[in-house]
């Protein structure tokens, strides 16, 4: 499978993608060895919005199920959660959106604003 091209926030030439010059942790998305899982690391807010939307767009385009490991996602805002809901909707009934260990706040936002979408998104707690 051809992997979608992912831009990265928070990376630098000299070190790990922990901090940029302002101390922000940024967003990093990388394919895992256990394909087709993707690991989403860091924070998704306004700063990472375009990258997050582009990544989800690329996932929709793969025509496969979407597996996201969110165990190291430290923060996600309502807009980014809305984008996830929209992705689940665009995948339709035939394709799965599976989240591994999403942050508690993401699950709370789903139940608060998109209760009808909760059954369409599979959550693994392992």
């Amino acid at each position: 499978m051809e992997l979608p091209k992912i831009r990265q926030h928070g990376t630098s030439d000299t070190g790990p993608a922990e901090c940029d010059q302002t101390g922000s942790r940024g967003l990093r998305i990388e394919p895992l060895a256990r394909r087709p899982w993707w690991k989403v690391v860091g924070e998704i807010d306004l700063k990472a919005r375009d990258d997050w939307d582009a990544f989800l767009e690329s996932m929709v385009a793969t025509r496969s199920d979407v597996y996201l490991d969110l165990s190291e996602l430290e923060f996600i805002d309502t807009n980014a959660t809305a984008a996830l809901v929209r992705t689940a909707d665009r995948l339709g009934a035939d394709r799965r959106l599976v989240l591994n260990r999403p942050p508690a706040t993401l699950v709370r936002l789903l139940h608060l604003f998109w209760p009808e979408a909760v059954p369409t998104i599979e959550v693994q707690a392992r």
Partner: protein, 313 residues
């Protein structure tokens, strides 16, 4: 009573009920509930706990068909009442009239809460224009001030008391919304100040989390504060001139989060209307209203300041 509008084509009905004691309370509320139940209209009652007990006892078995909610819990933040209580219930029954008793103002409301309460009462009228909804708002004339009762005359088109029902005559909800759009008390000198722009959102969350944990907030409550500060700062960046200023301080039992920017909120219903499922944005202030214990807004052409309070325990 009050099942149909008095004098206009608008199907929305919003009377204030002025009561002096429990007997007048029951005389004004029980028929409103039972009339609704008899015609098959869904009924919800959101009033302070002691009044819930009073109504439950008076209704007996009929009460099983009523949705009871403690307003001091679900409506602690007045900005949450329209989206989280009133619209939440009305939207469950879009094709038929629903009846709701909502008592958002009681004698224990603080000076900090009252402006948000009275603006809420005024904005109900805009939020439900055209809807088949009846919302009866009881006011305790023994325990509330003259000013509060006077404001209720302006926020309700129809008034009911022991003598009967009449048009308000001084109905002017927009005047109330404007009159209570007042400057907020400035942060204390010891407040933590965090300028926010696109590159500093993460820092702002980290500093806020440290501060909130230091004040004893639980991890779940810290999450609420971080979500709120992020949404408010995002609004400042997108709508408020590209940047904002966060102030954090402790005030009695609350952590206060204040975000100021140079934007102007022109829609007074911002943050009070449930967002359509397919709508991507527009949930920022709505989320803060859902999470915080009190949200106050002051917005003019010169700028906007929003205060959100979170109870420390």
């Amino acid at each position: 009573m009050t099942t149909t509008p008095l004098s206009s084509a608008d199907p929305f009905v919003h009377p204030a009920l002025f009561y002096r004691d429990d007997a007048e309370y029951l005389a004004g509320t029980v028929p409103f509930i039972t009339d609704g139940l008899h015609t098959g209209e869904p009924v919800a009652v959101s009033v302070p706990g002691a009044k819930l007990d009073l109504l439950r006892a008076a209704l007996g078995e009929l009460g099983e068909r009523v949705r009871f909610l403690d307003m001091t819990v679900v409506g602690r933040n007045p900005g949450r009442i329209i989206p989280g209580v009133l619209r939440a219930f009305a939207d469950l029954h879009p094709s038929r009239r629903v009846r709701i008793i909502g008592e958002p103002i009681w004698p224990g409301r603080s000076d900090a809460e009252y402006p948000a309460c009275v603006q809420h009462e005024a904005l109900i009228n805009h939020a439900f224009t055209g809807r088949m909804v009846s919302i009866l708002c009881p006011y305790d004339t023994t325990g509330l001030s003259t000013q509060v009762l006077d404001d209720a005359v302006a926020t309700h088109p129809v008034l009911i008391d022991a003598d009967g029902q009449r048009d308000s005559g001084r109905y002017a909800p927009d005047r109330i919304v404007d009159a209570y759009n007042r400057p907020l008390l400035p942060p204390p000198p010891a407040a933590v100040v965090i300028p926010v722009h696109l590159g500093r959102m993460s820092d702002a969350r980290r500093l806020t989390a440290e501060h909130a944990r230091g004040l004893g907030l639980t991890e779940e409550r810290v999450d609420d504060v971080l979500l709120s500060i992020t949404e408010l700062a995002t609004n400042s960046i997108v709508h408020g001139g590209g940047a904002g200023t966060v102030h954090l301080w402790a005030e009695n039992e609350h952590l206060v989060v204040q975000v100021s920017d140079s934007g102007h909120i022109t829609d007074p219903l911002a943050g009070r209307i449930p967002a359509a499922t397919a709508q991507t944005g527009g949930r920022g202030l709505l989320l803060v209203n859902h999470l915080a214990d009190l949200v106050r807004v002051h917005s003019t052409r010169q700028g906007t300041t929003i205060q959100a309070r979170f109870r420390r325990s």
